[in-house]
């Protein structure tokens, strides 16, 4: 909302107080100020000129050559194209060097051979309205040579208030309300304003009926003998400063009252209404009307209409109708001032996509006592301009409204407790009174009368009054205080501790980068990953079409960013810890099951032919995951291969495995291509998914210390040739069994397939470290061990190749 500093001065004497100081006051005590800008800055450069002489241009019919006195020693010669320019006029003159709106810098010019040293401006050229049929003729008493703003006393500042910060303050949507705040802040008097309705002609009041529950009050006041004309300069300038475009006196007055008191209102051409008067009712489904913006609107039963003779003439609280609008020749008016229900107006405005100055105000819940005051204000203002206007009939006033003014109990000691400041009783009383509250002091609690404009919306309980006192007292005057209380450890959050552990291990030892990705997943991505058909929670109003799904799992999001990262990096290691949502598994309150997951992806170029058997990315990621589980102090059973039924849709069907906490696998080759990881970006991709929920549900494995061996260990290498189907884990089991408790550790160091092993077979080789706790092992011990390994592996269908 835009405030005019000069407009505020109609309500409070701001002598000696700058617009910037007002802005600062409002910021600290009332609402957020977006900025303070000078109004029409060009008016400080453009000066008053006196047209001393006007001659026709020798070579152009429509141009005049004027001699203009701007207070300098020599008058200026200015060529002017306006038809209304004449000798004797006072005009607004831009001189050479003056910058006009639109960043137009005036230069000396030759127009059709005649030199011109400046420009006589129209109102439009100064951004003071649409008027451009001629130059702006200033009042005769304007002082020559003085900047126009100063000469006319119209220099002004525009203060912009952030609308959101007025959401709860219907009383602040006009200049009078803001002026009330300023007066309270500065201890100034609010200037009086006559808000009593002048006497009307007697007889039956204008017929008004309210059928709709969304209209607590509707006033209809007939006004006669008006002329549609241009508004006086003062009115036009104030409206422009407040961001309104002046049109004609009646429209301008309607806007003026809204911007002054915060009460929207509407003027109908009474001649275009039915003699039956006004009815406020809900629309019939499909009913239509053309609004003032020349758009035909179709209504539903939830929309509230103003109807005359069963013809809709306005959308209640939103916009008037085209057919009944004031136009040239209008002499009789019906003034509508009403209180409309906030929700009804908001829904209609939203549905029609028609947020107007009126609807914005009604949405805040306006004071139902305000319409009568606004009607009076409009009549007084109109009469000041057109004194012969009459009120031919009593005002119609319908509705079931009640005055919201109420009494709220206030304990002054509670004010001090909540604020933590010693605000004396007298100060509390002074503040509340200055804001228009009525204070009856007694033993605590006091009774505080809340005026109707504050009670309409935001003040209803003691805390609301405490806020009033606090903001006026000044939060800056409250001293900081440390929290006190017993020192007890805050409850622990095991999940957060686990998250930190995993993050540290991954970013540290494992050297992965932590990423954050969006909660939404693209349909296209899920389709590529084959994960589209699962159950997803979706949002109704996605920002991007095809991106409404809320993720079930984190991993697809990370797979989605692989391609982009692969373009810049050979080795892409990313992880994310986050939440997934499973709508098929909602609780009785409708909350979807929340799963906490760690997702890891790792893309690497394929290892060379001579690389070690475990150089592949999956094998390395498997070790990372084993390490994470160990660091989390959980113990997992062995990895098992996932079969077609439980393998994730994006995983290689024959290269994926799981244990009770995690899944590890490589990306399916087809999916990899779908993700664009082929050609130049070809790489091996492994993924892992850990369930934090499963880790937290499992018991912590005891972290036992093993004594450092007292006797040396012996290293033995064994290699087997085994059938292809023989699992490495089984080979290790054979070795461990053969050790009879002496096997301290095993490490696979070769996996080989080839001619020397034979078709359908593979060779596995292990380093085995034997250790006894009570003696140094002998050659015989080793020989017995190897013998047992040999027999064991033969029983299992393989053979020992060497030791």
């Amino acid at each position: 909302m835009f405030l005019s500093y000069r407009w505020l001065q109609r309500h409070v004497d701001l002598t000696g107080v700058s617009a910037q100081e007002i802005a600062e006051d409002l910021t600290i005590h009332t609402a957020e100020v977006e900025g303070v800008e000078p109004f029409a800055p060009a008016l400080s450069d453009v000066v008053v000129g006196h047209v001393v002489d006007r001659k026709p241009h020798p070579d152009a019919d429509r141009l005049s050559v004027c001699t203009v006195d701007v207070g300098d020693d020599t008058p200026l010669n200015i060529v002017c194209g306006a038809p209304n320019v004449d000798a004797g006029q006072k005009v607004a003159v831009g001189r050479v060097g003056t910058v006009l709106p639109g960043n137009l810098k005036l230069k000396k010019a030759k127009i059709r051979g005649v030199e011109s040293r400046g420009m006589i401006c129209s109102e439009r050229e100064l951004e003071l309205g649409d008027e451009h049929s001629g130059i702006w003729v200033l009042p005769d008493d304007a002082q020559v040579g003085v900047p126009v703003a100063q000469a006319l006393g119209i220099d002004d500042w525009i203060i912009e208030i952030e609308n959101k910060s007025l959401t709860h303050r219907p009383d602040l949507w006009g200049h009078r309300g803001i002026a009330t705040e300023i007066a309270a802040i500065r201890g100034l008097e609010l200037l009086p304003l006559d808000l009593t309705l002048p006497e009307t002609a007697g007889g039956e009041p204008y017929p008004v009926r309210v059928e709709s529950p969304g209209c607590p009050r509707y006033l209809g006041l007939p006004i006669s003998g008006v002329r549609v004309e241009r508004s006086p300069l003062w009115l036009r300038l104030l409206l422009i400063a407040a961001g309104q475009r002046p049109l004609d006196l009646l429209v301008d007055l309607s806007n003026f009252v809204m911007l002054d008191l915060g009460q929207p209102n509407h003027l109908f051409d009474a001649g275009r209404l039915s003699s039956e008067g006004i009815l406020v009712r809900n629309a019939r489904a499909g009913e239509t009307m053309t609004t003032l913006d020349d758009v035909e609107r179709t209504f539903t039963q939830n929309d509230m209409l103003i109807v005359s003779g069963d013809e809709p003439v306005a959308v209640a609280g939103v916009m008037g109708g085209e057919a009944s609008k004031v136009a040239e020749g209008t002499t009789d008016l019906l003034l509508e001032v009403a209180a409309f229900d906030a929700t009804t107006v908001r829904r209609t405005a939203q549905r029609l996509g028609l947020r107007t100055d009126a609807s914005t105000r009604f949405e805040k819940t306006l004071d139902p006592t305000l319409p009568a005051k606004a009607a009076a204000h409009l009549v007084h203002t109109l009469r000041a301009i057109q004194p012969d206007v009459t009120l031919p009939r009593a005002m119609g006033d319908a509705g079931t409204w009640t005055d919201p003014a109420c009494d709220v109990e206030l304990r002054p000691e509670r004010v001090r407790i909540v604020l933590g400041a010693d605000v004396p009783d007298d100060e509390i009383e002074r503040i509340l009174t200055s804001l228009g509250f009525g204070v009856v002091r007694s033993a605590s609690p006091w009774s505080v009368r809340v005026p109707s404009d504050r009670a309409a919306k935001d003040v209803g309980i003691e805390e609301d009054l405490i806020e009033e006192v606090g903001r006026m007292f000044g939060y800056g005057n409250i001293a900081e205080r440390p929290l006190e209380g017993p020192l007890v450890p805050a409850p622990r959050d095991e999940r957060r501790e686990l998250v930190e552990l995993l993050q540290n291990r991954l970013a540290g030892a494992a050297r992965f980068h932590e990423a954050l990705t969006h909660t939404f997943q693209f349909d296209a991505l899920l389709q590529r990953l084959g994960a589209f058909d699962e159950a997803y929670l979706e949002v109704l109003n996605p920002q991007i079409d095809g991106c409404a799904r809320i993720r079930r799992s984190i991993l697809p999001s990370l797979l989605g960013v692989l391609e982009g990262n692969r373009r810049h990096s050979d080795d892409v290691r990313l992880f994310e810890i986050g939440k997934g949502y499973r709508p098929e598994d909602a609780n009785e309150r409708g909350e979807p099951r929340e799963v906490h997951q760690l997702a890891i992806v790792w893309a690497l170029p394929r290892p060379g032919k001579n690389a070690r058997f475990d150089a592949g990315v999956m094998s390395r990621l498997q070790s990372v995951v084993d390490d994470l589980i160990r660091v989390a102090r959980r113990s997992a059973s062995g990895w098992r291969a996932l079969d077609a039924t439980d393998v994730p849709s994006w995983a290689h069907p024959g290269r994926s495995m799981a244990n009770e906490f995690a899944t590890v696998g490589v990306l399916d080759p087809g999916v990899k291509r779908e993700l664009g990881l082929d050609g130049d970006l070809e790489c091996d991709v492994a993924f892992a998914e850990l369930s934090l929920d499963a880790l937290l549900a499992a018991d912590e494995a005891p972290h036992a210390y093993h004594p450092i061996p007292r006797f040396p260990s012996v290293k033995v290498d064994v290699a087997f040739s085994v059938p292809e189907a023989f699992a490495a884990g089984d080979a290790i089991a054979v070795v461990e069994a053969a050790g009879k408790g002496l096997v301290h550790s095993t490490e696979m160091f070769d996996l080989y397939r080839g001619d020397s092993v034979g078709a359908g077979k593979k060779s596995l080789a292990l380093h085995v470290r034997l250790l006894a706790s009570d003696r140094t092992l002998s050659d015989e011990d080793v020989a017995r061990f190897v013998g047992r390994v040999e027999r064991g592996i033969e029983r299992a269908g393989g053979e020992l190749r060497s030791e």
């Binding site: 959401t167 604020l419 939060y475 409250i478 440390p482 805050a490 980068h513 109704l540 949502y581």
Partner: protein, 345 residues
């Protein structure tokens, strides 16, 4: 007394030792003279065939040669080692400007880093760290926060609504954790709750539909606006490592009463005259977090006696703090998962 032959051997050997320029050459001298088939070895071998009266002398000669030559070799070896050490200590070819060998490294996301820093500060002051769901119930996100259906304040939150259940949405702030905390914790307590939030705003360099906040909630007997100011100042002092001026100005949030916007004096232009920079948009203030005294209706919704207890709450813009901390000029990077961004942290 050595025989002339022995003397010749000795002289030849010593010359060889002197000429040996490295350990290998010295080893060769050693073999040539002291080895099994070397010159001294041959003397020893000749003893058994020599006449008995000469044997003793031959034996003495051989031993003498062994000692002299062996000693010389040892001495020379020591000298060569010393020379080698000197050579090894030479700095030829050393270039400290050669970059170190590349190291693959990992990183924690800047949001994680700043969150942890704040958690550390607050938990040292006895705040519990809480978590809440990102898919929230309307009851918690709005209703219990004193924003009933049709409240105009709902429009301040561009909400993502879920399909199929009118009561489900993506939380627009971390404030619903306030209610969850009030329901589960017994006052007095202090808690923070960091996490992601969602608003359906058009994404550009300074707006993201997904961002991070950190809620704070302190409830107890006699908690005042003064405590709120104290808590905020303490936290800012810890984060920026100096005292920063703050100001509270009225702000409207239905779940607090009174409600404030907290501004902090821009630390980025503190030393400039006149003050003002692009970070604070020349205002010298940075809007940091909405806060206020918990509305009694909210306490009541959470089952807490609003007459006995008061409390304050704040909603720190975590994403904004991260951007301030690292000078990040485009919020989209935070959720972009681009290694070129992540690697910098």
């Amino acid at each position: 007394m050595l025989s002339p032959e022995a003397e010749a051997i000795r002289d030849e050997a010593l010359a060889g030792v002197a000429a040996a320029s490295d350990v290998a050459a010295l080893a060769s001298v050693d073999r040539t003279f002291l080895g099994k088939d070397g010159a001294v070895g041959q003397i020893l071998a000749s003893i058994k065939d020599a006449p008995p009266e000469k044997r003793k002398q031959l034996g003495q000669e051989a031993n003498a040669l062994k000692q002299v030559i062996g000693g010389a070799i040892e001495e020379r070896r020591e000298a060569l080692r010393a020379e080698a050490l000197v050579a090894e200590r030479a700095s030829d070819g050393f270039d400290p400007t050669l970059p170190g060998a590349p190291l693959q490294r990992g990183s924690l996301h800047p949001v994680t880093q700043v969150t942890r820093e704040l958690q550390g500060i607050f938990s040292s002051m006895g705040y519990a760290i809480l978590d809440g769901p990102e898919v929230e119930l309307d009851d918690y996100n709005f209703e219990a926060l004193n924003i009933p259906a049709d409240h105009p304040a709902r429009e301040m939150y561009d909400t993502f609504w879920c399909k199929g259940d009118a009561n489900l949405l993506l939380r627009t702030h971390t404030s619903p954790v306030q209610i969850r905390a009030l329901e589960t914790l017994e006052p007095p307590f202090r808690a923070i709750a960091p996490g992601r939030c969602f608003r359906n705003e058009t994404v550009d360099a300074s707006h993201e539909h997904t961002f991070h906040q950190m809620e704070g909630l302190v409830v107890g007997e006699g908690i005042t606006v003064g405590h709120l100011i104290g808590a905020m100042k303490t936290f800012l002092r810890e984060v920026f490592r100096r005292d920063l001026e703050i100001r509270l100005r009225p702000g409207f949030f239905p779940f607090v009463e009174p409600g404030f916007e907290l501004d902090v004096r821009c630390p980025f232009c503190a030393e400039k005259t006149p003050r003002g920079c692009s970070v604070c948009k020349r205002t010298t203030w940075i809007e940091l977090c909405p806060c206020g005294m918990v509305h009694p209706r909210v306490l009541a919704f959470g089952g807490v006696d609003a007459e006995k207890y008061t409390g304050f709450a704040f909603g720190l813009g975590l994403s904004r703090l991260v951007m301030l901390r690292f000078g990040i000029d485009d919020i989209r990077h935070l959720m972009g998962a681009d290694l070129r961004f992540l690697e910098q942290f």
